[in-house]
Amino acid sequence: MSVQQQKQGVPLWAQILIWLSITGLLVLVGLGLIRAQRPMVSVGSLAPDFSLTLFDGYTLDGASSLKLSDLRGKVVVINFWASWCKPCEQEAATLEAAWRLYQPAGEVVFLGIAWTDTEPKSKAFLKRFGITYPNGPDLGTRISQLYNRNLGVPETYFIGRDGTIKHIQIGPFASVSQIQALIDRLLAE
């Protein structure tokens, strides 16, 4: 820095270091850009399959893990959330209320997927909001990478009986009726 006077300009080793770090940063951002350019799942495309291991205490039809393709024939609501995400708190109670409406009939499955979160914090969040629908961690962000979500949490994907994505909700739900409207449309199809 300017505090030390340098008569001769920048020494060679420093120059090499500077150029290397700038190039490194650019490579990093460039690779991120290439990844971001990959096509995103969109409404109408087949929902990529994944398996999800549920948190302790959660089951679906008695099993502690599930595969999305096994749920074909049902309407699936996949909600990506994180315990550090404020809007997720806002919608947590709403999602749970909607789940309780549909759970008895067994036609609709809600899945919560905790994204880039720690297990204790995820569990505390689920307990705090009394969430009963199946929830599991997105280990290694494998699921979110399939869906190439890059708009942040919360994000919710509505999958029709035929296994295609019918609606993508970016951001939190404000009311149960909003979720109901979306699901009822899919059930009617």
Partner: protein, 672 residues
């Protein structure tokens, strides 16, 4: 018709900018005064032309020209006219036009300066600015054209093109898709333009810095020329950040104002380097030091501005602010690579000639404290930069996208901000050149004692939270020091000029705007810090479903659910509004009206809180859900956000401070 005109003008402007760039470069090389002059005049034409193009687009927006795809994407018939007009920056293409328009306005202002005095620098400023403008215009013309229209082929396919393709008919949707309801807020009118203004105006000091490097001028002329620019740029950027916070606080429905979202950080990073720059240029002006450092800071600021724009628009990072993915990502990437290699290379080339005139003599001198201040700002920047790049890094090495959340930023930056506050307390009391621990200690012990007293009072009356107490101590210290500085200077004036104390205060601002404006900004920052401490450490919340006449209690307030009604609102909304009585103990305080607005065409709800702001706290009530049958009640979420209104009060004072500092003063009068 208007679409063709708008597009034609854009293309013309693009070529003019290219011409201006080439001519300025060529004219400098051949030392031809006439060619440089023609470059200058070409640049002067860009602003009226872009104004025409932007007006054409606004006209299309306001008049529901849904054949134009941009208009279709961001407006709908039910939106009020002011929102239709401001939807200009509600989508990628339009916001680029707006950006280019601002950029050409600033560059034209530079071109209108008296050239004789800075004949050496100005052509190069023009070269750099014209290059940046040409880049943005090329994005619009080739990738994100807002004037594309829909055309239908005989087969029923809909195409997008500016000019009518053969065998097609115009396709005109009957209504537009409409703006995202979150953006339908008066904040939309003012928050994005402020941020863009801030971003764009930092290009000018950068262009001057580059010109100084190219012409090998190692004096501080470029800094003196851009000093006020930089202040205005900083004003706009700061306002953009604060307004964004206020908008989020009102709209997002959880009382949050800052979420450490990557895009917020992207706007915050140039603010950090810009703030460091504003401080360190004073050292170059007064002492001839930090020349290389200042160059580095302005290059960083510019690079971060472009980088921030890139992040928002390329889909590289997750964010609520993201624009839809688009093809301009790679273009931006190339531009960033080019400008950073060029500027850093130039700086390295000229490094030796930017030596300091003097050296730092004492660790407690004002220049040393300013250096610490800069290092702290840089440390905050490193934390932010790391947090933003971390997902990319982790994806590269582990194939997992791991994001760092607000706790990371809060823990990493809080001590740095505390240290900055300590410096804010100490630096105004230190002297240029030589100062020792003893002289600073002598000046500081009285305000420190007073601040300690305040902290003790707070300990017994308000809170025992250790972090809050440390925070309040630092805030009190800075406030006491700053008031003491004002008082000392004003009293000196009353003696020297026989003025009364109020007049003396007033004249202080006239005498050294930057210094005393700066102190006002320090005061406002401390008020904002009070608000941030309050909401971060003491926010309380509860949630409950209430039947009519039932109550919810939180933080000394009691809320009683009185009524609910549903009615159509403006902008084709369906409004559901609850009425809640607020009591404190048994005292009736008034009513709040939290509501839910439903936008049918976007199928989206907006939750609008009922707020009761006081300086003690902000009562913030949300209607979360309700059932049509009144018996089953409504669900409310209630927050009590202590002290948060100091944040908004502080931002008003901040505005006053920066206006004092940036207000034009008579040339040379305040140099001393």
């Amino acid at each position: 018709m208007l679409a063709e005109l708008g597009f034609g003008v854009l293309v013309l402007t693009f070529f003019l900018t290219l011409y201006s760039f080439t001519a300025a470069l060529y004219g400098e090389w051949k030392r031809s005064e006439a060619v440089v002059e023609s470059a200058r005049r070409a640049m002067l034409l860009t602003w009226p032309l872009l104004t025409l193009s932007a007006l054409a687009l606004i006209y299309l927006l306001v008049n529901n020209a849904y054949q134009v795809s941009f208009v279709y994407e961001v407006t709908s018939r039910s939106m009020p006219a002011y929102l239709k007009a401001t939807a200009l920056w509600g989508g990628q293409a339009g916001s680029l036009v707006f950006w280019a328009w601002l950029m050409s306005a600033f560059t034209s202002l530079v071109a209108l300066r008296k050239w004789e005095r800075d004949r050496e620098l100005l052509p190069w400023v023009l070269v750099v600015a014209a290059f940046t403008l040409a880049f943005f215009l090329s994005l619009i013309v080739f990738f994100e054209n807002p004037f594309l229209r829909y055309w239908q082929t005989a087969g029923g396919n809909v195409l997008r093109a500016v000019f009518q393709p053969a065998n097609t008919l115009p396709f005109i949707p009957s209504d537009g898709r409409g703006l995202n309801p979150l953006l339908r807020h008066p904040g939309m009118v003012i928050h994005p333009p402020m941020l863009y203004l801030g971003f764009v105006s930092f290009v000018i000091p950068y262009a001057f810095a580059m010109a100084a490097l190219i012409t090998n001028r190692s004096d501080d002329r470029w800094i003196r020329l851009t000093r006020r620019w930089t202040l205005w740029a900083w004003l706009f950027l700061s306002l953009g950040l604060v307004l964004g916070g206020r908008w989020a606080y009102d709209v997002l429905g959880w009382g949050g104002y800052w979420a450490w979202d990557p895009v917020e950080i992207a706007a915050f990073m140039p603010w950090l380097t810009g703030t460091a720059f504003l401080h360190s240029v004073m050292i170059q002006e007064k002492r001839g030091m930090f020349k290389q450092w200042n160059m580095l800071l302005i290059i960083l600021t510019y690079a971060l501005v472009i980088f921030g724009t890139f992040l928002t628009r390329s889909g590289v990072l997750s964010s609520v602010h993201a624009f839809a993915q688009s093809a301009i990502g790679p273009m931006f990437f190339g531009f960033i690579a080019l400008t950073s290699f060029f500027s850093v290379g130039l700086l390295i080339y000229r490094w030796g000639s930017l030596k300091a005139d003097v050296e730092i003599k004492s660790l407690f001198s004002r220049e040393a404290l300013f250096l610490f201040n800069n290092l702290l700002f840089m440390s905050v920047l490193v934390v932010c930069f790391w947090g933003v790049l971390f997902p990319l890094l982790s994806e590269l090495f582990t194939n997992q996208k791991v994001t760092v959340g607000p706790p990371f930023y809060e823990r990493a930056t809080a001590p740095l901000f505390a240290a900055l506050m300590l410096l804010m307390g100490a630096a105004p009391l230190s002297a240029w050149g030589t100062a020792s621990a003893r002289t600073i200690g002598r000046a500081l012990w009285k305000p420190a004692l007073a601040a300690l007293f305040v902290t003790a009072v707070l300990f017994f009356t308000y809170t025992r939270h250790p972090i809050a107490l440390i925070g309040f101590f630092l805030i009190a210290l800075v406030l006491f020091v700053t008031f003491y500085e004002f008082w000392r200077a004003a009293r000196a004036r009353t003696k020297a000029h026989a003025e009364n104390i109020l007049l003396a205060f007033w004249n202080l601002f006239g005498r050294n705007r930057r210094r005393y404006g700066g102190y006002v900004i320090h005061i406002s920052m401390m008020l904002m810090a009070v608000g941030i401490l309050g909401i971060e450490l003491f926010q309380r919340e509860t949630q409950g479903t209430l039947a009519l006449q039932q109550s919810l209690v939180l933080g000394g307030y009691r809320l009683e659910y009185r009524d609910i009604a549903r009615f159509p609102g403006p902008d084709s909304r369906e409004v559901t509004r609850a009425v809640v009585d607020v009591y404190q103990g048994e005292r009736y305080l008034g009513q709040l009206y939290p509501r839910i607005d439903y936008y049918p065409e976007a199928q989206q709800n907006m939750t609008i809180p009922g707020q009761r702001p006081t300086l003690r706290d902000d009562l913030y009530v949300l209607l979360v859900d309700w059932k049509p049958a009144s018996s089953s009640g409504a669900t409310f979420k209630v927050y009590v956000n202590p002290l948060v209104n100091w944040l908004w009060l502080g931002s008003l004072i901040f505005l006053a401070g920066i206006l004092i500092a940036a207000w034009p003063e008579r040339e040379r009068s305040a140099e001393q």
